[in-house]
Symmetry: C2
């Protein structure tokens, strides 16, 4: 038997018991004739003590233990001389009478401590050692617990978890698919699902009423910081529902998670904000509403005073940085540099200091007198002591830049506390987005999203103005989930494909099975999908989803630990009827 | 609002309430001026009634409803004239005052009844209609409930569910991999996991102590009746355990499932049978022990009496069919035909009828007198009235054929009751299997399985005789789960790869990450994986796992509903640096 207890279990109540523990050597130290060894497992750390004067051979064996050796010990639980109130096992230690080394360890390439000294690449290569660190163990435990809570909540609400296939069919609409060549069907390919969208809709057609699945999804995209080629969704669908039935169900689920996992109660209904308002006041469809600092447009006040920057701008708007009138030249310069960064793209920034004595000092004093500045301050509801930050130019670009400036100011003012959570439903998204390059509309959400009933007639007159019956759950500026009421009518679905530039044949070829299913009694239905990785990392307070994924891939889509992807054998290629083509830029 | 209640909810206690229901038209019938419509959803069926004399327009609309139309109705709950005690809602009906058609339906290609009239191909093509049938809805509900119970049980036992990657690395050992070409890493491929084996072992190295995952696995094999290219495992691993720790934990889990899902209690410990005994007494490593009928070898009694069939056989053995001495010539002929089928492969069968009067009648009376036959009957513990069925030949082939004959007799005698469950642990499997074609040993379980400590020295002398610390859970002759104590020592793992004919370079190239991980303190560990599809179909009483998978593939690995796999666009092939090769046998 390897253990009677875990390394996190023993307390003063166990004094004088004979116990056996197994685990990893966290560290050891010597003090006179005594050797103290901390042994660690998933459950905690327990101090072992060896007395050279009592058992020299055993104590010598203990002295030779290296970090991360796997050991098993037996001994008596005794009271600790110097108690450690920070450790749950800090009242006791084990006076060891038997020690065996189960496995040795070489010196790890980085230490297994909360703050490791390994760089990112090294930590990825030795992920099995990185995963020994306490923050990652806590993160995996949190993820597990959130999965359990999601499942039990949805089970109680009458949802069935139903597994949908991973080997499906490639469709050109949407992001790029990963494909899987078929050996039994020569020259044909499966695709890995970007989401189980059509399958969950078919389950509604099949009468399952309430479906969910915690499911892996795949997208072959060029990876940005917070993207992974495979990621996990909480995927849900309900039949015979209207929008608010879905929002209520999943608001309840979100509150359940906050309550059970973080012990946070939300006694209010999550606010709902129209997409248009989110863009007008925050320049983003995922506003961080932990703090206010709404955009105020002052185009009408700012133009026509001879300041060519404003006069040539389609849009002038600003935000109020409360209590920041005292910012130094260096600080305002930093902000100007910030907005001029290429990824933000503003040409410059105008600031107005509304001094505590009621006077104004601005970067555009030459063009605007105190009355003019006062009118801005009034429009923006600024008070003496506040700093006004103003951007101008093309409306969309300026809103985007102002959004970044607002988040930066929120950060500087400490308004983006990771322990505060501000959920928000963003609703009434546009149905279609015009793509200049492809010269056609694309679905903003996906091609199965229902338009709002009152906008049906705009398909022929002004498709770009149609609002979708779609919604996102945004928490702290992160899009956590999104969904929509779906189209369940064959004619409307055909109209939608037509608006997206599909010929009837293309629609039939790619989605014929869904259009066919709609012939046989499809119920009204809708759903939502949550990004599980993002939700866990939000709850964990991590910035990257990598820290909540056991074995993530790097930015090139590589798993550097197992060295994948890799070459495969020629016999495999032959069986799959494939030949490799050398890329141009490789030798 | 689409409904106030589901179609399975209303009872006599709801009388006189105004309600709204939505669902599918199951069937309708007319009786005088009354129209009765059964409306169905996942939760049940409710009878609607329309009275032509009271509301002619509404009744006419109801008369025009077709099967599978999706409707929403409002009305009053009234007492039913002729109650139906077989239906939970059979005491009531709805006197409808409002009816709307949410979606029409064409006539489905087969009826949505418990026993459908659709053939297999048609049912697969219209799987969303097949899934409306009650047996499949019950099957999906059972699967969901079993998933919930597995997760909650393992959660309480301290296991974490940890997601492992689906895009991993191809390894030639084992079955054939599905591969996924990488766009970002030209000419390289990911593989889809056949199981998360190495990842769960790395999680043990990483200190997670108890891991599980309900996870999809992939094997590109030529499909047999009960195989799917993607299937689901309950995958588990534990650290600091010996074999019986694992068996105890998962026996407890299995009992928990029987108790919570089928309300069956097992008050005894599951029996354990050595692999050698399973082969000796049942000719199979997955014996169906719902009935006894063990093999009895009578080689020593049967040889040397001038019967050339036996005299030339290495092995003569039989089973006793209790009470079957009265079998007709036709019946014994049928059994002879059965064992001579090519897939069973016996050359013939000898029978001995032990008549109720104590005399013997056999197909080999010419060679064996009553005393000889009596000695067989004694050895086989047969009683008057029993039938002895005897096969002979090469030992392994004969055992295999006798196993099939035993199962056939069990079937004929009604000993394989689907509502009786007989679990069994088969233990002490051989570690290695000699493959004549490849002229080398293969791992019987997989290359990470630990040999039994007492057999360690046989690596150099007699590798084929090494027993593995491996085990299978068999229920009713179906292998439900299997696992082993793993190798956790780098040297032993290298020895194992060597026994499998890997060069050091090959081992390093394919499993270097695991061998490396063993350098840094790998704990003793072991685990098990259950075939979730098989477990559910066993519980559901289905013969095929297809009936417990929402969207299965056919025997060619095709999803005929979505028509996958399929051709992909040339641009996709180009991005992946691939060209297609025409197979020889295609034009």
């Amino acid at each position: 038997m390897y253990r009677t207890h875990t390394c996190g279990e023993l307390r003063a109540t166990h004094l004088n018991q004979q116990v056996t523990l197994s685990g990893w050597v966290q560290k050891s130290r010597e003090l006179g004739g005594m050797t103290f060894v901390d042994v660690r497992d998933r459950y905690g750390i327990t101090q072992l003590v060896f007395d050279l004067s009592k058992n020299a051979e055993l104590a010598q064996l203990a002295r030779d233990l290296g970090r991360e050796y796997v050991i098993s010990v037996s001994g008596k639980v005794i009271e600790r001389q110097s108690k450690n109130s920070k450790m749950p096992t800090g009242d006791i230690e084990i006076l060891v009478s038997y020690l065996t080394i189960l496995n040795k360890s070489e010196v790890p390439p980085f230490t297994i401590e909360d703050n490791s000294d390994g760089g990112d690449e090294l930590r990825m290569k030795y992920r099995y050692l990185d995963l020994r660190r306490n923050p990652l163990q806590k993160s995996m435990e949190l993820r597990h617990n959130m999965g359990i809570e999601v499942r039990n909540f949805l089970h109680k609400e009458g949802f069935f978890e139903i597994e949908t296939p991973y080997l499906i069919k490639s469709t050109p609409e949407g992001a790029r698919d990963f494909v899987v060549p078929s050996r039994m069907n020569a020259n044909q390919f499966y695709a890995l699902p970007q989401s189980p969208q059509t399958f969950k809709q078919l389950l509604m057609v099949a009468g399952y009423d309430r479906y969910f699945q915690i499911v892996r999804c795949f997208r072959d995209e060029d990876l940005r910081a917070d993207r992974q080629p495979e990621f996990t969704q909480i995927d849900c669908e309900m039949a015979f529902v209207e929008r608010d039935d879905i929002l209520n169900t999943f608001e309840k689920m979100t509150k359940h998670l906050f309550k059970t996992v973080k012990n946070l109660e939300f006694e209010y209904e999550f606010p709902k904000m129209a997409y248009d308002d989110a863009m007008t006041f925050y320049g983003s469809d995922k506003p961080d509403i932990r703090f206010d600092m709404k955009f105020v447009e002052i185009t009408h006040l700012a133009k026509g005073k001879g300041f060519v920057v404003f006069d040539s701008a389609a849009y002038v708007a600003g935000i109020v940085a409360t209590g920041c009138a005292g910012y130094s030249r260096k600080e305002t310069d930093q902000l100007t540099e910030f907005v001029k960064k290429p990824q933000i793209g503003a040409k410059g920034m105008v600031y107005v200091k509304y001094e505590t004595d009621g006077t104004f000092k601005s970067s555009v004093d030459k063009f605007f007198d105190a009355d003019a500045l006062k009118s801005w301050a009034n429009a923006m509801e600024a008070k003496p002591g506040d700093l006004l930050l103003i951007l101008s130019g093309d409306k969309t670009q300026t809103q985007k830049a102002l959004c970044e400036l607002r988040l930066e100011m929120g950060e500087r003012l400490g308004l983006r506390n990771k322990n505060k959570f501000a959920p928000l439903w963003v609703v009434d998204f546009p149905l279609l987005e015009w793509n200049e390059e492809a010269h056609r509309f694309f679905a903003m959400h996906h091609p199965f999203t229902s338009p709002k009933p009152e906008d049906m007639d705009k398909f022929d007159t002004n498709p770009g103005a149609i609002k979708a019956n779609a919604y996102d759950l945004v928490i702290n500026g992160v899009e956590i989930g999104g969904g929509s009421i779906r189209i369940h009518d064959r004619e409307l679905q055909a109209k939608m494909f037509n608006a997206l530039g599909f010929t009837t044949e293309e629609a039939e070829d790619q989605f014929g099975f869904l259009l066919n299913a709609f012939r046989y009694g499809a119920p009204p239905h809708g759903g939502v999908a949550f990004g599980f990785d993002r939700l866990v990392s939000l709850f964990a307070g991590f910035d990257s989803i990598r820290d909540v994924i056991a074995f993530p891939k790097n930015n090139s889509g590589r798993d550097v630990m197992i060295d994948s992807p890799s070459a495969i054998a020629n016999t495999q290629l032959e069986e799959l009827f494939l030949t490799l083509k050398k890329p141009q830029n490789l030798k």
